[in-house]
């Protein structure tokens, strides 16, 4: 007998003569305490994210590239990983070219194996879009894909994320339902609620444990 058959057999045996419990999920418990007026969502998200060491900058569709340049220059960063295949990537590229920024724009356009060393040791910052945000917990939702692969938001020490204000949902449950996640998920979904951190030594918080030391969120208020 296989382990599988043994395990399932034992479990079935223990349940003999019983009926499965009814589904008692009560969505009010995960939604009602976590509802916000639309105008309060940004503030809620912002205050929660700032409490965990995240920079949140409200901006607009026409001025965010300028802000990115400013943020990078302030930190003396020399390169930025972003997706030229995406609309925001193109916008940034156009702005950087027009204003002759010195920061080099890098693209994640080959399998990780082909440039692991460089990605891990030389890339200083990255910029990605997000699928949306969650006000209740101060969370960004990322669905990595070919254009913005999984490691883009993890390996570089500084991660800049673009968040459209209209995509901020009250709570995770609402977002899952609104977008029907249960119908099918991509290979990887990420909820990100701050820069990487640890409290494993004496419970003292230290940022940049394995992932980004800094998380910067640009909230596009007009998008």
């Amino acid at each position: 007998m296989s382990a599988r058959a043994n395990i399932l057999g034992k479990l079935r045996n223990s349940l003999a003569g019983t009926t499965p419990r009814p589904d008692e999920f009560d969505e009010r418990l995960v939604t009602a305490p976590w509802r916000y007026a639309p105008e309060d969502r940004i503030d809620r998200l912002r205050s929660l994210m700032e409490a965990v060491h995240t920079e949140v900058h409200p901006c607009r569709s026409d001025n965010w590239p300028e802000l990115v340049a400013e943020l990078l220059n302030k930190r003396n960063l020399t390169n930025l990983l972003c997706a030229p295949s995406k609309e925001h990537g193109r916008a940034l590229q156009a702005y950087f070219e027009a204003t002759e920024q010195k920061v080099e724009l890098l693209a994640y356009d080959q399998p990780v194996e082909a440039w692991k060393e460089e990605l891990f040791w030389n890339v200083e910052a990255s910029l990605t879009g997000t699928l949306g945000g969650i006000a209740a917990t101060g969370t960004l939702v990322l669905w990595p894909d070919r254009n913005e692969p999984r490691l883009m938001s993890l390996v570089p020490p500084v991660h800049i994320a673009l968040l459209k204000a209209s995509e901020i949902h009250d709570n995770l449950y609402d977002m899952m339902v609104a977008q029907d996640w249960a119908a099918g998920l991509p290979t990887n979904v990420l909820l990100v609620s701050g820069p990487s951190k640890t409290a494993d030594i004496e419970q003292v918080l230290a940022y940049g444990a394995h992932g980004p030391r800094e998380l910067i969120v640009l909230v596009l208020e007009d998008a």
Binding site: S14, A16, T18, T19, R21, E24
Partner: protein, 279 residues
């Protein structure tokens, strides 16, 4: 919402019982049975007598069946189910004979009647009905004074600062800490001082204190330290086990600080003296 017994099969998957609704209290009865508890009986009888005084002061007649002994808790928490059950059955018979409300001057023993007898007699439907009835009419002393007698205490003592300790199980099962606090609040010249880690266990736990003397000893040492550091001049509690543990440890440490049963403390405050002390 489905019930605990949605599926009567003994092997059905269990859910946590529904939250208990807030207890509805009856009017003050004419008479009650006092269940003294074995620890109070032998080591703190004055507290039991002061409990009787407090009840009589409220115009409640107290009945003390001489056949009573122990609620069965020591054996139950030690894993000796059969022995616990035999002793529990004996108490159940005695308490049923009078059929009066039962008042217990020790939180964990009241909890035994209110909660754990159900587990002991789960396999005897007829007894279980009697157990349910007993649970319904059992009250911890402070709860009974406050909620059923709606006692009003006039403080006659000198100004004092005290610390309150409540038995963990009693606090969690019956909110005894809230009842005791409210009673103490009625005493004008008594200030209740919070002590460090107030809600933490004193380390008694019945046979735990002799099975794991190292750990239990560390716990009671910490408890006595925070009681003494609190600035209170004495500690009061409504649980005999905790009182024995804390006072025994203080005495061993040759400290002069002591704990006292809440019943004696209250009786003294409203009279200026504890009659029980004369015993």
């Amino acid at each position: 919402m489905s019930q605990l017994f949605y599926d009567a099969a003994p092997n059905a998957t269990r859910v946590a019982p529904e939250r208990e609704p807030e207890r509805v209290y009856p009017d003050k009865p004419e008479a009650v049975t006092l269940f003294g508890t074995c620890v109070v009986d032998l080591f703190f009888p004055e507290a039991g007598l002061d409990a009787i005084h407090l009840l009589e002061r409220e115009g409640v007649r107290v009945h003390f069946p001489q056949e009573q002994s122990c609620c069965g808790q020591p054996a139950w928490t030690s894993g000796y189910r059969d022995e616990a059950k035999a002793v529990a059955r004996a108490q159940l018979d005695i308490l049923d004979r009078a059929g009066l409300p039962v008042v217990v001057p020790s939180g964990s023993c009241a909890g035994m009647f209110r909660h754990h007898y159900r587990a002991l007699f789960a396999d005897e439907p007829d007894t279980l009905r009697r157990v349910e009835a007993l649970a319904e009419r059992t009250f911890e002393l402070t709860e009974f004074l406050l909620k059923v007698c709606k006692v009003q205490l006039a403080d006659r003592g000198a100004p004092s600062k005290i610390a309150l300790h409540t038995s963990c199980s009693a606090r969690r099962e019956m909110n005894t800490h809230l009842h005791a606090r409210e009673l103490l609040q009625q005493l004008e010249r008594v200030e209740r001082i919070d002590h460090d880690h107030e809600s933490e266990c004193c380390g008694f736990g019945g046979t735990f204190s002799v099975r794991m003397p190292e750990v239990s000893g560390a716990m009671v040492k910490d408890k006595t330290r925070s009681l003494m550091d609190s600035g209170a001049v004495e500690m009061v509690t409504a649980d005999g086990g905790c009182l024995m543990n804390i006072n025994g440890s203080l005495e061993k440490q040759k400290e002069s600080f002591r704990g006292r049963h809440l019943a004696s403390f209250l009786w003294e405050r409203i009279n200026g003296t504890s009659e029980g002390e004369a015993a």
